[in-house]
Amino acid sequence: MRANKSMQWMFLAAALLALPSLAIAQQGEIHIGKVTGHSDAGKQLYYRFCWGCHGFHGDGNGENGPYLNILPRNFVAATFKCRSTPTGTLPTDEDLYASVGRGFANSNMPAWISLTKQQRANMVAFIKTFSPRWKTDKPGDPINVPAEPAATLDGIKHGKELFTKLECWKCHGPEGRGDGPSASTLTDSNDQPIRPYNFAEGSRFKCGTTNHDLYKIFMTGLDGTPMPSFADVIKPEDAWDLVHYLRTLQVTHKSPELTLWMGSKEGAEFVKAQKVGGTPTGSGIKQ
């Protein structure tokens, strides 16, 4: 009996000793599908690939930070633009993983798709060690994106009305060229000037290329930028109309919505007027 009790105490002590180490082991782990990212492995990758811009301490103060006209992400602040979660919340691991692989158009952040899935997952695990927010807050629940209805001419016209009603034009401009009356006054959370997205350039969006991504952008907002979330002011079916209209503003980017829109007299005239403006020569952007 006494021996049994001793054994029990020893087992309990061993379990108590093992628990913290188990917790420590799991602290720096994330899961992307079947891939488990480890922060210790991610640390080595971070100090190989990322520190030049994001800094040794993840605060965005890398040696190249001052030379970049869109400042590198400050991982300590843990404010992220591209999320599937509501505004103000932390993104999911999948959101961060997608951002690392996709890169950010019109910034110095490249797509790290040439790294393995394991390496990208490791990076994400390490990035999350910079901010205490990851210990106190949980990522938000991803927003529900309803199935996309087929684009219709009426829907596009409705989207155009919403574009005016929601005052998107104030920043993005009446033709979506990023030249609205407020455009020159915008700053991000670092008090750095920031330009609204220019649809006419036709480059991909910051947070993805699909209609699904575009839907998420204005339903979650781009935290840290003046782009707010419209989740509380727009219904899902209206949101899809707006998505379809925004696609028509990408006049250099062929899409079913643009084809449909140009089939109408109003659309054809609108697009023709939009194409009059120019973009810098040598940029590779079609005029």
Partner: protein, 485 residues
């Protein structure tokens, strides 16, 4: 300036690296042989790493290089995309006007060269004896001026005027590339002088000593340049030499799958020389696959099929090569990663037409018993990337003749008639060393490079006047300061 060493993670390294540096220096001075003689040449540095890109994109060297100049897959992908990140910031118009896409690289060094059975001539008596010859001293490498970048979106260039250590310049690379044709990464065209699409790149080789190059990329049977009779066009070819022509290439988005097909002038990259209006073809394909936490593995195959002239027809207006005969180099390779340890493996089969193999013009009769020479070659190169600042390198390489061009007469080497053994000209090469990068930045690169290499050629002394026919061994010790800015 934010030094790499200021990172706590990296504080572990300097003492270890310093220890190794000291160890190598001690080893160096122990190995110095006072019996020095005339200087032996060292090939100029021909290695690529381009801080101009690091400056442009604000990334440290380690982003694109496993340890510069060796590319990692991200760097390979960047190169495959025509020196573009694909974030719509690649065109020159997005750069500061002061940005200048130029880098310089050079390697001041100390080196010791030793040949175990050189033909040493006594100037006083005029007699030649076979003996060890060793020399050492401070020296310079060649210099590369690396200019590369984008001219506009999807149009990029590479221009590399390179000088030997005598400051005589040549264009090592000069090409323009049209990327993402039809908006597809699978269609890219490059025209000009360029390195063959070798995944194991000699331009990014991690060894710098006199014997530290890839033997496999330059091997030719000794019978090709020892025929004393035939007035031939010297047949020279090296897969490591940059060639002139056009290349069609393609890759998947992450460069895991890659192919290229090149049409090249048959002149081994030389300019303004008669090439016999011949064209060569180089084909390569590789596929990478992920192996969990081990890293990215890659396997591939290549084939170079060419024709070269065996004699010249000259006139006062034009010179041209005729009597073209074929040659080939084909094989496969693998890049294997076990976390920080990686292996590069390569196998090559080579073969030359009998006229090329014996150095005989096609209008002349062949030596009795002559055959087209063939050989097998391979190497394994190991890297231990302790961290982005410190890498250990080792390579063992061998070349084995499987068929000699001339009949074997044991112990007798008679140029143009016979060779002394079936393994005549076989090569074994071993090299090991390390590179230590004291700091990492996106502005410049610097490495302390220590290396020892040795090459043994079977029966190599038979090529020397009065040679005994024994094996010829060259040793090279190299300590250099490799900088690029």
């Amino acid at each position: 300036m934010f030094h790499w060493a200021s990172s706590s993670m990296k504080r572990r390294m300097p003492w270890l690296a310093s220890l190794l540096v000291c160890g190598f220096l001690v080893l160096t001075f122990l190995l110095i042989d006072s019996r020095s003689a005339s200087a032996l040449p060292i090939p100029p540095g021909k290695v690529h790493a381009i801080p101009a890109f690091a400056r442009k994109y604000g990334m440290p060297c380690s982003a694109c290089h496993e340890a510069w100049p060796k590319l990692n897959n991200f760097g390979q992908s960047f190169k495959d995309n025509g020196y573009q990140m694909g974030n719509d910031r690649d065109a020159p118009i997005f750069q500061q006007p002061a940005y200048w896409p130029v880098s310089f690289r050079m390697t001041p060094h100390w080196h010791r060269e030793s040949v175990d059975r050189a033909d040493i001539t006594n100037q006083a008596t005029g007699t030649t004896v076979e003996g060890r010859l060793t020399t050492h001293g401070f020296d310079l490498s060649g210099m590369d001026i690396l200019t590369a970048g984008t001219l506009a979106k999807n149009i990029s260039f590479l221009l590399v005027p390179a000088a030997g250590n005598d400051a005589v310049f040549a264009f090592e690379s000069a090409n323009v590339r049209f990327s993402n044709l039809l908006k597809s990464g699978w269609l890219n065209i490059k025209v000009g002088k360029f390195e063959l699409d070798n995944m194991i790149s000699e331009k990014r080789i991690m060894t710098l000593s006199a014997n530290g190059g890839y033997q496999i990329y330059h091997f030719q049977p000794v019978t090709e340049f020892t025929n004393p009779v035939a007035p031939l066009v010297p047949f020279t070819f090296g897969m490591g030499d940059n060639q002139i022509g056009a290349e069609l290439s393609g890759h998947s988005k992450n460069s895991y799958t890659r192919y290229s097909a090149a049409l090249l002038s048959s002149n081994d990259g030389s300019v303004s020389v008669p090439n016999g209006h011949g064209y060569n073809t180089y084909l390569t394909f590789s596929q990478a696959f992920e192996a969990g936490s081990l890293g990215l593995q890659r396997v591939g195959a290549f084939a170079y099929i060419g024709r070269a002239p065996t004699y010249l027809a000259t006139s006062s207006l034009l010179t041209d090569g005729f009597g073209q005969k074929s040659f080939y180099r084909a094989g496969f390779f693998g890049l294997w990663y076990l976390k920080k340890l990686d292996f590069m493996t390569m196998y090559t089969r080579g073969g030359d037409n009998v006229f090329l193999g014996t150095g005989t013009p096609s209008f002349s009769p062949l030596p009795v018993g002559a055959q087209g020479p063939t050989w097998n070659a391979g190497f394994i190169e190991t890297h231990l990337t302790v961290n982005p600042q410190f890498i250990l390198v080792n390579r063992y390489e061998l070349i084995r003749m499987s068929r000699q061009a001339l009949p074997v007469t044991p112990g007798v080497f008679e140029p143009g008639v016979s060779v002394p053994s079936a393994d005549f000209g076989d090569i074994d090469a071993l090299v090991f060393g390390y590179r230590y990068y004291p700091f990492m930045s996106s502005r410049a690169g610097f490495a302390i490079h220590n290396e020892f290499s040795t090459v043994r050629q079977r029966g190599g002394t038979a090529l020397l006047p009065g040679g005994s026919g024994k094996d010829l061994t060259n040793n090279s010790l190299f300590i250099g300061f490799d900088f690029i800015f």
